[in-house]
Subunit: 249 residues, 2 copies
């Protein structure tokens, strides 16, 4: 049920004859390059990776309160993490794209503070966190990268906590997705999202109707073109200007 608890598959090669190739997209790629692919420690890092999935859209990857054993990097697809409050309203904490790390917020209590669901077909790289922490002891670069990733998530969460207008939030959201796609060699101007308007709204703390209205206005003003869940950015500069209060990197 919970792929973070089980060990469904042994490590499998991606089938392209190079077991390391997929790693170029991973948040730990920098560690690998810094250490050099030939070091024994790096082999250990790869040894504790488990490829899990694919999971189809809607699969619950873990549930709030589940014991925390592992973090995971997205190998393909998109993941949404969220909580449901007593009133039944859903709070989306984050969307996770290729290479991004899920589960860092679970370290604190040893339990996941949120649920995670696959938004489309998702494959993950699962890292046992106790093993990773032990390895980080002998691999300072890995420790540093873990600290950085954790620290980065603090900043991401803090950015969302500011009080910004619907326009600012929407612009920042579209830009953030654009940049994260671009980081992996995809077009920064055209991309498809897997989440619903409701998901976007719950993430941005806006009603789904407001998301729809802001998008409409952005289209009317020539900022972007939206066709269902496919986005095209038409005026990157103005989007950046709008998102300025919210984005800083």
């Amino acid at each position: 049920m919970n792929p973070f608890r089980t060990r469904p598959n042994p490590i499998t090669d991606d089938g392209d004859g190079d077991g390391f190739s997929f790693c170029g997209n991973c948040a730990f790629a920098g560690v690998c390059h810094a250490e050099g692919y030939d070091k024994p420690a790096l082999k250990e890092l790869h040894c504790l990776v488990q490829h899990v999935g694919p999971y189809h859209a809607g699969t619950l990857l873990f549930r709030e309160g589940d014991p925390f054993n592992a973090i995971a990097a997205v190998r393909s697809g998109m993941v949404k993490t969220f909580r449901v409050d007593a009133a039944g309203r859903e709070q989306v904490l984050g969307f996770f794209l290729l290479g991004e790390i899920i589960g860092l917020d679970a370290i604190h209590n040893g339990r996941f503070p949120c649920n995670a669901v696959a938004l489309d077909t998702v494959s993950l790289c699962r890292f046992s966190f106790p093993m990773m922490a032990t390895l980080a002891t002998r691999m300072p670069g890995l420790q540093t990268q873990l600290f950085r990733l954790l620290s980065q998530d603090i900043n991401k969460a803090a950015a969302m906590a500011g009080d910004f207008s619907a326009d600012e939030r929407m612009a920042a959201f579209v830009l953030s997705i654009s940049r994260r796609f671009a980081n992996h060699g995809f077009s920064p101007n055209r991309f498809a999202l897997s989440m619903s308007r409701t998901d976007i709204g719950n993430y941005l703390r806006l009603a789904a109707e407001t998301v729809s209205r802001v998008m409409r206005r952005f289209q009317n003003e020539g900022l972007l073109h939206v066709d269902r869940r496919e986005f095209e950015i038409l005026d990157m500069a103005r989007l950046q200007q709008l998102a300025l209060p919210l984005l800083r990197e």
Copy 2:
């Protein structure tokens, strides 16, 4: 100027004949107890501590963009971290009380993403972060605690990012302060804050006037008594109920 960059004082005993006594309030206290006070590694941890301060109210401890060298634990007083956006509006990221760790959000970029100011007379324990990371390599308990503290800050920031009413935010704020004081043996029902209404508003993403109005209503409803900056909680249960959507620990 920036106490996080300089080394004003060598370690000094608190004057009570026990150099470790102040540590009971520190976020790293758990590490010390777990490791045992006699271990050499623990001595090293204490060796990299620098007592800095006191700083008087209003002193800028670091500034957005300053290079990051060290984290710090609050030894006495209260600290506010904040950013100022292009429009000149101040966003308060956090208030730091006795024993709480400042600067974890700076690891990511190697620069402080925010400013920090003393709200009253403040003393700190400064920890060189590079040295601490190195030490964490030989001291798994310290590494674990650092991971935990970072992860905790993600959750704190995420909690602030939800869309909650002014009442919920205010109740959660008062309760949070109360609990943090209580953790150090102070009364959970009576405490004095060092920050202004404006600071509270900028932290809770509310106008200062709204903070004032909510407090007035809380007083009228018998939830608490407020005299200038002194607070007394009169109905803990109802406050907790109000804060429920926001607080979870």
